[in-house]
């Protein structure tokens, strides 16, 4: 589904990703772990097509097509979803309006008919219940006045509505209490199927107890320094990033202390 | 001109030369003459001008003031007006420096503090432009004396420089023109307190026009606190201005506390010329009786990344008129500007009128700017709450009014001055409340 080859990227002239190789097959869940500043969020932003990040080398293939030559909108329409680490607020736009536009943009792209307000409301209701969100969610302005947890759950709600092919969750667990974390995880798990893949970016192993990954990669200083199965996450939790030594170790103590 | 003519007559008085002081540098003399010529071109042609909307123009035009104020002959009892503090003190009576009342004190290294008239060649007039401002033009032509304060890089003045501008009977029918120049070097820190007193013009049949101009340059990362207290008597007109230029990283904090005068107009012009400069502008004006108070601010965000925080509060009683006119202008490309402007007015009487013009002029898109203005009476719920706790109506009202004023006074960092202002404000408010009480009882 997704094939990243020697990907390098920079922001404001500073190289953050220094050659990433990663392949995700349909139905797989990959987790990327790593200390702060290792490039985790940069990777998610680059995949989603944020133009503030400059790709300086390598290639990314998504569903057999060159991803990097597409803009953010086209990538979204092709089925890439990014759950933002810091969800953006837009005053004056209700969740409903926003999502209906987004859902219908997807449907148009796929050559399907647009949903009217009633169909949309029915679809939304199910997902709202699933994620245990408040019923007034749809009327409220997008993320305005939302608590940290509500914002994160709203990202998952959007993901559920848009049914992407590849979902990139950028530290969706940060700032969530254990109950909220469980709800988010259930939302993700309910969307698991053989055609849909996930890239879960996290600092802590905690989330991976609920969303069990097929593969775990450790990112450090812009490179994947170790890959393994789900047991790698536990090992990391136990020993801290220092265990990996070298570049990862230098940055990693912070991660250990915080967890 | 005859000493008792209106200032307008300067315009038609044939060729005029401004008399310089003995030994005055040629540059200053030239500036005086240019300013006089400028005044003679513009006159008091202020009607219909946006920056004088709701302003009190008549007393300027019709009042008879001799611009050549000459100081005072006897000291009289002036010393009793001066508080006992350890501040660096300069006292000016009717515009003229009085060495015997002043106490410059010990100065740290790198600080130059002297009366301006003794200061030789300076950068006077760089910030206070005389065009389009007849009062500034008159001041620049006729200034008598004032403060010259220069601080070297990193210099620190721990004690405030406190200026007293007094007008006594000798200043009757004169235009007193103090002129201050402050140049704060990079990373230096200083506090200036300007205090205006004219106890001898309490009654309306004596009159003086006090027209000060202050110029302040804040060097990189300099910190300047500037407190101005206007406590002139009810016969005095006060039309003055402050002009500030701030370089990168500097901070300018201004307090304007207006308590006295018959008609008072203050202009505060700030140019934010270096990235990261911040200014914090606060004012409290208390007007009652027939007072007219007119406070104007102009802040120009000329470069990116500067901040303005402005809070002007007014309390109006009697037949008073008060104007707040604040303009924050964000120049093209002055991105990441943060500017907040608030004006709040408490109107206590049926006959007081309050004008509020908070203005934003914005030419850059990545900015955080807002302004707000409220005018109204006391919060009835708060009043009820206090009364329910056993305070009588008058006490409750005074408490709430005082609380309204305290928000400004509490931010004056000089403790002595803050305490003085709190007392002074409270006294004024109690007097207002008494009057109010009598009026109310009289009516019912």
């Amino acid at each position: 589904m997704l094939k990243i080859t020697h990907l390098k990227a920079a922001i404001e002239g500073k190289e953050i990703l220094k050659g990433i190789d990663l392949e995700i097959k349909p139905g797989e869940i990959h987790a990327i772990m790593g200390p702060n500043g290792s490039g985790k969020s940069t990777l998610s932003q680059v995949l989603a097509g944020n133009e503030n990040y400059e790709v300086t080398g390598g290639s990314v293939e998504f569903l057999g097509e060159d991803l990097l030559e597409k803009d953010a909108t086209e990538r979204a329409l092709d089925g890439i979803f990014l759950a933002f680490q810091y969800p953006v607020e837009i005053p004056g736009i209700s969740n409903e309006e926003f999502l209906r536009q987004a859902v219908n943009a997807q449907r148009r792209h796929r050559g399907e008919s647009e949903l009217d307000a009633f169909d949309f409301a029915g679809l939304a209701k199910d997902k709202i219940d699933l994620l245990q969100l408040k019923n007034d969610l749809l009327e409220r302005s997008l993320n305005v006045g939302f608590s940290g947890g509500e914002k994160k759950r709203n990202e998952i709600f959007q993901m559920a509505m848009l049914e992407p092919k590849l979902a990139v969750l950028d530290e969706t667990d940060s700032g969530l209490d254990i109950d909220a974390l469980r709800v988010v995880a259930e939302g993700v798990n309910s969307l698991r199927d053989s055609g849909r893949s996930f890239l879960v970016i996290t600092h802590y192993q905690r989330l991976l107890e609920y969303i069990v990954p097929d593969h775990v990669h450790v990112l450090s200083a812009g490179r994947i320094v170790k890959s393994g199965g789900k047991e790698l996450a536990l090992e990391l939790e136990e020993k801290g990033y220092t265990w990996l030594g070298g570049a990862a170790g230098d940055l990693a103590t912070i991660g250990k202390e915080a967890s | 001109m005859s000493p008792f003519d209106t200032l307008q007559t300067l315009i038609t008085a044939g060729d005029l030369t401004v008399p310089g002081k003995p030994g005055e540098p040629a540059g200053n003399l030239k500036l005086r003459q240019e300013a006089l010529d400028s005044f003679r071109r513009q006159g008091f042609n202020l009607n219909g001008r946006e920056d004088w909307k709701y302003g009190n123009i008549k007393p300027l035009v019709q009042g008879r003031f001799n611009p050549l104020a000459k100081g005072h002959e006897e000291q009289g009892d002036l010393a009793r007006l001066l508080p006992f503090t350890e501040n660096h003190r300069l006292v000016f009576v009717n515009g003229v420096f009085d060495a015997s009342l002043s106490a410059l004190g010990d100065l740290p290294e790198g600080v130059r503090l002297t009366p301006l008239a003794a200061g030789g060649e300076t950068d006077l007039g760089r910030l206070a432009r005389v065009e389009h401002n007849p009062v500034t033009a008159l001041n620049t032509a006729f200034w008598q004396d004032g403060l010259l304060l220069e601080t070297a890089e990193d210099a620190r003045l721990d004690r405030p420089v406190e200026l007293f501008f007094l007008v006594d009977e000798g200043g009757n029918r004169t235009m007193v023109s103090p002129r201050n120049l402050v140049v704060a070097g990079a990373r230096s820190r200083l506090t200036i307190i300007e205090r205006y007193l004219a106890p001898f013009t309490e009654s309306a049949n004596t009159a003086a026009l006090v027209a000060p101009v202050t110029e302040i340059t804040c060097g990189e990362d300099a910190q300047v606190q500037h407190v101005k207290v206007f406590r002139e008597g009810r016969g005095t007109l006060h039309y003055g201005s402050t002009h500030v230029r701030q370089q990168a990283g500097s901070r300018y904090a201004s307090h304007e506390i207006a308590l006295g005068g018959h008609s008072l107009r203050r202009e505060l012009h700030v140019d934010l010329d270096g990235a990261g400069a911040t200014c914090d502008l606060k004012a409290l004006y208390l007007a009652d009786g027939d007072q007219h108070m007119d406070l104007r601010t102009r802040v120009n965000h000329n470069v990116p990344g500067c901040q303005t925080d402005e809070l002007y509060k007014g309390i109006l009683d009697g037949r008073a008129r008060a104007v707040f006119d604040g303009l924050i202008k964000v120049a093209r490309d002055a991105q990441q500007t943060e500017a907040f402007q608030t004006n709040r007015n408490l109107v206590l009487s049926d006959d007081a009128v309050c004008y509020s013009i908070p203005r934003l002029e914005i030419y850059a898109d990545d900015v955080k700017c807002s302004h707000g203005s409220t005018t109204g009476q006391m919060d009835e719920e708060q009043l009820f709450f206090l009364r329910a706790r056993g305070f009588d109506d008058r006490t409750a009202r005074t408490m709430l009014t005082m609380a309204f004023a305290r928000e400004i006074i509490a931010t004056v960092t000089d403790e002595n001055l803050a305490a003085f202002l709190a007392d002074e404000t409270e006294e004024r408010l109690l007097a207002m409340a008494r009057q109010d009480f009598h009026t109310r009882n009289g009516e019912s």
Binding site: T73, L82, P87, V88, E97 | E50, N345, C354, S356, I362
Partner: protein
């Protein structure tokens, strides 16, 4: 250049859709203004002597005035002697039904989306179409007559209801009010007259559609709406003009008069030709609109969506004279390219417990400059008066200007006046979020701007709200990139 930018560039060169010219024979007086021209207009309209006298008085007063200069707009001087003050399509003097209206004209309005013919007309909107200086058709006449509503061109009302016109004309906006009002009083050619009888809540919307067609003519229409005791009417005004390189002057006057318990809701979607991308051509829109809430508990509500004109100078106002009367002003103003607008309102509180609300949403894009200028004045006797003002500006791009100049004059201690203003823009992060969810940049901008304006659009009648929202999207094209 990025693709996005390129796309936006292309869009911005799209043309003003309403810019076509109707080829029709016109009666036009030669340019110039003097008492003879005024007599000519008055004679052409077969006006009574008192009206001619009033026009002449206004003209003489106008000659003593100079154009206002305090507004924050810049434009070349208007040569009032180079304008033609009367232009009308040549046609039969009296039209009995729409069948007699020139088919060219019917077609023009069809093109503008305003069907006038009996078969196609809007079911619940009565339309008075004003083409250059004269009213060409009014729909739903019969139904309105049955209800006692008078809705006709003001020139016709002068003939049929002279007593009413004479009683109210110039009572809300006297000819001495300002330069443009004086000019309009002297030379106004047509416009709508509405009278709603006592106790009637007018069930259909009344609408006037203004169209400037002829070159070198000014448009000086005059609208007068009177709502008698306990009545209600909703009135809509729309306008367009052909695309021409020269500037054209539009100096209208609208007067609303509300008696006790009466309520008038006046909505405008103003879409005069704004000039081209470089600021060439476009309408100078210098309009005086005022409501007098003379009666107790009366209410006047202005809603405006301003997207057109090269220069806008417009302050729909409410004089709240009757106790407990209410004034409202809801405005969306959008300026793009080289447009300049100085617009806002005046709320004058004279009566006790009068209330006013101002919600102004300004959107500046391109190199445009926009100023909100509003006066809230509380008179000495306006005990208990309340005003709340919310002014929000949105800047799209870093070459435009957005300014907020409120004037508050508070003369009663029991009154409460509150003003708030904010400035925002559309953040890159917001656009990126929308893109990431599959919404194109253009749709995202349109959606966010519409959200920004929601409070105002809610005040518009349904058909108008949809229209306004579309118009906004079209006017915004090419403004973000």
């Amino acid at each position: 250049m990025s693709d996005e930018k390129q796309m936006l560039e292309e869009l911005s060169s799209r043309e003003y859709k309403w810019g076509f010219v109707t080829d029709i024979e016109q009666d036009t007086v030669p340019p110039g203004l003097n008492e003879d021209v005024i007599r000519f207009i008055s004679a052409k309209k077969k006006e009574p002597e008192w009206l001619l006298e009033w026009r002449l008085k206004a003209f003489r007063h106008w000659q003593t005035l100079t154009e206002p200069a305090w507004q924050k707009v810049e434009y070349p001087a208007v040569d009032y002697q180079a304008i033609s003050y009367y232009s009308a399509p040549k046609e039969k003097p009296q039209k009995k039904s729409l069948d007699e209206v020139d088919p060219e004209l019917l077609e023009t309005y069809e093109k503008l989306g305003i069907p006038l013919s009996e078969q196609k007309r809007l079911a619940n909107v009565a339309v008075d179409a004003v083409f250059d200086s004269v009213s060409v058709a009014t729909t739903h006449q019969k139904r309105l007559e049955e209800m006692g509503v008078i809705f006709m061109p003001i020139s016709e009302a002068v003939q049929k209801h002279p007593e009413l016109v004479r009683k109210y004309l110039g009572k809300v906006v006297p000819y001495t009010d300002n330069f443009y009002a004086a000019l309009n009083s002297a030379v106004f050619t047509d416009g709508s007259f509405v009278y709603i009888p006592q106790g009637l809540k007018c069930p259909i919307e009344l609408s006037t559609y203004f169209r400037i067609n002829a070159a070198n003519t000014g448009q000086f229409e005059r609208t007068l709406i009177v709502a008698d005791d306990d009545s209600y009417v909703s009135y809509l005004e729309g306008c367009t003009a052909p695309q021409r390189d020269e500037n054209q002057l539009h100096a209208a006057v609208v007067e609303l008069y509300c008696h006790d318990d009466a309520s008038i809701k006046y909505s405008t979607v103003q879409n005069w030709y704004p000039g081209d991308k470089d600021g060439k051509g476009g309408i100078f829109n210098f309009v005086t609109k005022r409501a007098l809430c003379a009666g107790r508990r009366s209410k006047a509500s202005w809603t405006q969506v301003e997207t057109g004109s090269a220069i806008t100078w417009k302050y729909p106002s409410c004089v709240l004279k009757g106790d407990d009367s209410v004034g409202e002003f809801y405005s969306v103003a959008l300026t793009n390219n080289a447009q300049q607008a100085d617009t806002g309102t005046k709320m004058v509180h004279l009566g006790r417990n009068t209330r006013s609300t101002i919600v102004s949403k300004g959107i500046s894009a391109g190199r445009s400059d926009q100023t909100y200028r509003g006066l809230v004045k509380v008179g000495k006797k306006a005990a208990g008066a309340r005003n709340f003002t919310q002014c929000d500006s949105m800047l799209l791009g870093d070459r435009c200007g957005a300014h907020t100049f409120p004037y508050i004059e508070q003369g009663n201690p029991t009154a409460m006046v509150e003003h708030e203003a904010t400035t925002t823009r559309i953040g890159d992060d917001q656009i990126f979020l929308c893109n990431q969810r599959g919404i194109s940049t253009e749709d995202a901008v349109s959606m966010i701007v519409n959200g920004f304006c929601r409070e105002v659009f809610q005040e518009l009648p349904m058909e108008f709200a949809v229209e306004a929202s579309k118009l906004l999207s079209v006017s915004l094209e090419g403004s973000v990139g």
